[in-house]
Symmetry: C2
Subunit: 208 residues, 2 copies
């Protein structure tokens, strides 16, 4: 790995651990045992690092969203899809932790984040409409609209919420598992009996 | 209004407009045309102001939660209750806008905010169980649990989400109306036909 890549990797790790607002370029250089000058040779400022990390996040998320739109998913696929989405969110959790603050300061990140939120909503719409067409999900078009808005909202803010109400359990498997279950529980009441029970059964192991 | 109260009122207004992290005690003093020394005569630091404003928020929210727990609510009462809750959230929206950041810096606020989240969840549980007992809401105990978690999550992060996806429409009536509708749409699928249609009808005016 060259210095540039190491700077990105170290920044991501520090941002995720301590929050982006609390991590300066000096911290990053210090952690890597390089001079601040060396860091500035590779990046103009912290904003540029944030922008590049965001691009990495965006690329992975768009790949996942495209993959899920290219074919019809059933309820168990949806479960898997959500796990993959939450893993990406976890890898870039610093973005989600200080979201308002970050979007307020980085115009480019804000525009792209808004675009990703719309893409996520579109993906959720296409999955839910697919399930409705297959007769698995029963909801009016308006209900599907508000359902998909709630899916994106709960997925986006899950880690902040979980961290606020259960700050002690930071085990990634538990945090993400609970998040997937919360999102699936939005969909459950629109499914027919068997599928609804399946979600409760799959979800039970996350409820402690 | 004495100087102390005017400082609190001015701080709340500036925090709500520009965000608490972007508002210094100097801004507050400047806005009031008083000296920073005069401000420091009344408050040790900005943290003390934030703490007192939070107490005002907490008092109003706890009052509302107690009122709603003291009697059985029907679906239309719930609508009204959510409107009142969202009005309080709007009046203290700076708390919600930089929530992670704020909770990370103010230990006392964090502890109290966690307590309020638990109280909100308990209130939601007691309302939903009441509706279930009256035969209006059909859900298992586990479904009610995850529903109430989602109710508190959507209500807590609604304004951040709405601001991220629709930054242009900041009319309070619209923002709050959409929030109430999103929360009601979480409950709707568990209600029987008439009540479910009622929510869609009441909600239609918020969907633009």
């Amino acid at each position: 790995m060259n210095t540039r890549e190491r700077i990105l990797e170290t920044s991501l790790r520090l941002f995720n651990s301590f929050g982006e607002p609390n991590t300066s370029t000096n911290h990053i250089a210090d952690e890597m045992n390089i001079s601040p000058g060396n860091l500035y040779y590779h990046f103009r400022n912290k904003g540029e690092i944030v922008g590049l990390l965001f691009q990495g996040y965006e690329r992975r998320m768009l790949e996942l969203l495209s993959a899920s739109e290219s074919r019809d998913l059933d309820v168990e696929d949806m479960w898997l899809f959500l796990h993959l989405a939450f893993e990406i969110i976890w890898d870039y959790r610093f973005l989600y932790r200080d979201l308002d603050n970050l979007l307020g300061r980085h115009r480019l990140v804000r525009r792209h984040f808004q675009r990703i939120m719309r893409r996520k909503t579109d993906t959720a719409l296409s999955i839910c409409r697919g399930l409705a067409k297959a007769g698995v999900l029963r909801a009016s078009e308006e209900e599907i609209d508000s359902l998909c808005r709630n899916i994106v909202l709960v997925a986006t803010y899950w880690m902040s919420f979980d961290n606020a109400v259960r700050p002690r359990d930071t085990n990634p498997g538990n945090v993400l598992g609970r998040g997937v279950y919360q999102v699936m529980s939005l969909v459950a009441p629109f499914l027919d009996g068997d599928q609804r029970v399946l979600i409760q059964t799959l979800g039970r192991r996350y409820i402690v």
